[in-house]
């Protein structure tokens, strides 16, 4: 049961996370001083990377 829930969670997090990146990829133009395309890219992908790390950590501690 816990494995099934983890798989559902992974599908939701990774699926929606990839959709977020895909839909916002064209929105990385810097808007102001202090912004650049590379920092915008970092802000876009960082949450998904952290989410994947959290999924892996959850799998590692799952009873």
């Amino acid at each position: 049961m816990r494995l099934a829930v983890l798989i559902i969670a992974a599908v939701l997090v990774v699926g929606a996370g990839l959709a977020i990146i895909r839909s916002m990829w064209g929105m990385r133009a810097p808007l102001a001083r202090g912004a650049s395309t590379s920092t915008e890219t970092l802000w876009l992908i960082l949450p998904l990377l952290l989410s994947v790390a959290l999924l892996a950590w959850t799998a590692a501690v799952m009873p």
């Binding site: 816990r2 939701l12 929606a16 810097p30 009873p63």
Partner: protein, 297 residues
């Protein structure tokens, strides 16, 4: 002939009321719910009452100080937004320098309260939360990127870490999960609000997503982030939480998803941005209550 606006109330009571307003008590209340419920989760039961009390006082002072400093920094844009134009600094009832000093004093006292009466890790984390809110969000990201509230949302996710650290003196996997839940809750919550205040943010030149890329793009992001949030709220069960938590998370999460869906569809029958925003507040509070109850059972 025009009639002059009545002078603002003066006197000690009015000043105290303005100082309390600077701390944004309603927002801090929600943060304290996540803090206290995280303490129950950390203890896997009911924590000491005094510890809860001191953590709440320290947490209020810390978040209130951060909110006060935020209003000092943002006083220029607060003045041109309908929602914020009546704040004490903008109205001239509290001098900017006095507000800044008050905010810094609150943060300093909060560090002492948390450090001396709970744990120094809790104190340090609360200070990190202040620095994230003021430095990362307010001073850097808010005016420069559409991802301001996504990355800046880390600041609002710190209170559960503070609560956890106050009880255990350490940060473990469970604390990180609670941090993650608040972090991924922030985008759908805040972008629903930004949809309601699009004109305000546009006037102030704040690059909120709906201002820069429009309402349709924002509605899509609210739905996608709601899915990320729902997935993340399942992780505590996968990691060992009981069925009570799973049922609570799903029962609370599905209406959120339904509202985000209606918002994404552009259903004009009801003000879905406002409904989603208000539900998101209730959702987070109740989800953390479920976390606390499930831990205490």
């Amino acid at each position: 002939m025009t009639t002059a606006a009545p002078p603002p109330p003066t006197g000690p009571r009015a000043v105290v009321r303005d100082l309390v307003t600077l701390t944004k008590p309603r927002i801090v209340a929600l943060l304290l719910v996540t803090t206290v419920c995280a303490m129950f989760a950390a203890r896997q039961g009911v924590p000491n009452g005094w510890l809860i009390g001191w953590t709440m006082i320290g947490g209020y002072l810390s978040a209130g100080g951060a909110n006060t400093i935020n209003q000092f920094v943002d006083r220029d844009i607060d003045a041109v937004m309908d929602r914020t134009e009546r704040r004490p600094i903008v109205m001239g009832r509290i001098a900017p320098g006095a507000a800044l000093a008050f905010g810094i004093a609150l943060v300093a006292v909060s560090v002492l309260v948390l450090g001396l009466l709970t744990t120094w890790l809790a104190a340090g984390l609360s200070l990190v939360g202040v620095l994230l809110y003021v430095g990362l969000y307010t001073l850097w990201l808010k005016r420069t990127t559409i991802h301001n509230i996504v990355i800046g949302g880390a600041a609002g996710a710190v209170p559960p870490l503070v609560g956890w650290a106050a009880v255990t003196g350490e940060i473990t996997f469970g604390a990180v999960l609670l941090f993650a839940i608040v972090f991924v809750w922030t985008p759908p919550h805040f972008w629903a609000l930004a949809l309601m205040l699009r004109k305000d943010y546009s006037q102030a030149g704040v690059p909120m997503l709906p201002v820069v890329y429009g309402e349709a793009a924002t509605r899509s992001q609210v739905l996608l982030w709601t899915l990320v949030m729902l997935g993340t709220t399942l992780l505590p069960y996968a990691a060992g939480a009981g069925a009570v938590y799973l049922i609570g998370a799903v029962v609370l999460g599905l209406p959120f998803l339904g509202m985000a869906w209606q918002l994404w569809r552009g259903d004009a029958s009801r003000p879905w941005a406002a409904i989603t925003f208000h539900y998101s507040l209730i959702y987070l509070a109740l989800l953390f209550v479920v976390i606390a109850v499930a831990a205490a059972l």
